[in-house]
Amino acid sequence: MSIPFVAIEARPAPVSTEGLVPWMRRNLFGNPTSTVITLIMLALALLWLPKLLNWAVVHAVVAANADQCQAARGTGACWGVVAEKYRLIIFGRYPFEQQWRPLVATLLLGGLLVASCVRHFWRPQLALAWVVVLALFFALMRGGLLGLAPVETDRWGGLPLTMLLATLSIVGAFPLAVLVALGRRSKMPAIKTVCVLYVELIRGVPLVSVLFMASFMFPLFMPPGTSIDVLVRVLVGITLFAAAYMAEIVRGGLQAIPKGQQEAADTLGLTYWQAQRKIILPQALALVVPGIMNNFIAIFKDTSLVTIVSLYELTGSMSLALNSDSNWRPFKIEAYLFIAAIYFAFCFSMSRYSLWIEKQLSRSKNR
């Protein structure tokens, strides 16, 4: 007897796992707890988002008019304070009619920083560009030549000062950190001890105390009669502080390089510095790029501390701009949000850039 042919029923189409609805089913209503959380969050959003929007957008006063702002107080944000004070906040106490100079200087420095992040520009000429731009920056800010009115450093402030402090202390701290990290792994006991002492002492104390030292004690250290600009003193303080942290990160990278690399370099007859420069450091630094970038971000944020020793960078110049004006003082919170947004933009883009670099470096490892 032959078995009658029965056609197997066609299988149902597979449940779609792509697209918005399946994604929501998985990620928003995956299980009972998840569903409850989603519903609570949606309810909260419905409750609060309109209020926030009302405050920040609908009832907000954008015009630089203190009376309107005062009238809208409590119901709407006063972005007018930013419209009114933005030049004071961004350029600090720099003479008002001369503020195109810090603007150009900041744009130059910012442009160079962005260019330095692009692979296309990674060539020897970049170092030359740095020298030129830094010289231009100081010439523009300081004046005193080409008919520019001289402006003392104690009137520098705002974003140019923040960027200058961050850039110069990063540029100064990095080579110092590499040297200290190498010194800490050196076989010479005296040099090793000095490096260990330096790193551990600095890492044990807060930056504020280093800055206090730079502003109170540094003048005592110098030969009588000489006076060093407060900007330079603070810069030295931040650089020494940042270098100690960075040295530990670099040391982490050095430790991860197998001993065989150094031994191979010795076998080839390379000198100590040749081996470090051509074999060890390129590998070690590549390993610790994320850590170094985090350190750069930390330095950028830490520059806000110099306001404690009366240098008016972004945070300080904001307080300065609003505290002196009783009409606008009640709207400090909006001004705080404004500079918080500036800091956020800088730090967030740095951390995104660090992710990109990491990807570039891991390319060599994935075959």
């Binding site: 998840s34 005296a190 105390s209 206090f212 009640p330 967030f348 951390s351």
Partner: protein, 393 residues
Amino acid sequence: MTARSAPPPKRDWSLRSRAVRAVLYQVLALTLIVLAVWFLAHNTLENMRVRGIQSGFDFLGGPAGFDIGEAAMPYESTEPYWKAFLVGVLNTLRVAITGIVLTTLLGTLIGVGRFSANAIVRGLCYGYVELFRNIPVLLQLLVWYLLLTEWLPDPAEPISLGGLVFLSKGGLSYPVPVWGLGQGLAALGAVAGVVGGWLWAKRARTHFELTGIQKPVLLPTLGLVLAGGLAGWLAGGAPMAWNLPKVGDVAVEGGSALTPEFISVLLGLTFYTAAFVAEVVRAGIASVPRGQAEACGALGLSKGQQMRLVVLPQALRVIIPPMTNQFLNLTKNSSLAVAIGYPDVVSISNTAINQTGRAVECIALIMLVYLITSLSTSGLMNWYNNRAAIKER
């Protein structure tokens, strides 16, 4: 044939010998450093002589002459400087220790939230981390201080939470029990309960290792603590007196209070550091291979058991060292309190420098205090790390 023995290594006192150069470099480096230190010290002494600055720590015995807004111990402005410093150190420790506890809780919650099955929770946790770690902590402190001192109602008409806790520009007032015999005995009883619970946990562990049967630990311990406290309280005559805050004409009176300065330093440091702790916790959990969780499922462990018995012990090894760094950062960042006038050790030293001009001594004291705190924190965390570290043969 006679075996030729290798010639004895010739001491080469030329510059081409590595050993000689090493000695030379070190002597050179040390000489430079000694010269630099001598130069700085000489200048400092010379400057002090020229400007008539006195040096030495003798000023610590003299009367401080300034008031301190909040002190954890009795303090008057006529008391000596060393006592003012002590008040500052206690204030620093108070904000640092509270901050470390709160940061650990909040940061762990947010770090675990990054693994939530719910996309909204994941998104919020990610947003929190990116927002709070990319804004300078000083700015955050200032914003909290502004919110607490300008946006809250006046102390005469505070926000009331159940009529017991009051929040206003004057700070946060809350009820405290009137300290007496009963409360003392209750605290003693609770401590006895903790000791009892610890002994019980030890026994339960031995029992588990012998028989493989688990005994409950958490509930009996809690019960012992509560019972101990209750017994002490009853033995002391069950006192019911509380010191309640009341709304007065100009301010909230009575009870205990936290100043706005303390709250803003605490909130600022906690929210900022929690973003970093969350990342540390996330990295730790992510470092445990997925296969471990799958193996737990195969063994029939519940989600909670899986986290507690398998994932966390392995994640802790990765988490503890960077977590120690974050705790140290929090402690050091507490020095930013000087910007909003919380009287921590840096702020007190700042006042002392302005009054006495002994900058070198005061800054040395600050550094000493922070060095001791940092070293003891890392010592404690290293001890804990050794306990959590992988046990190999």
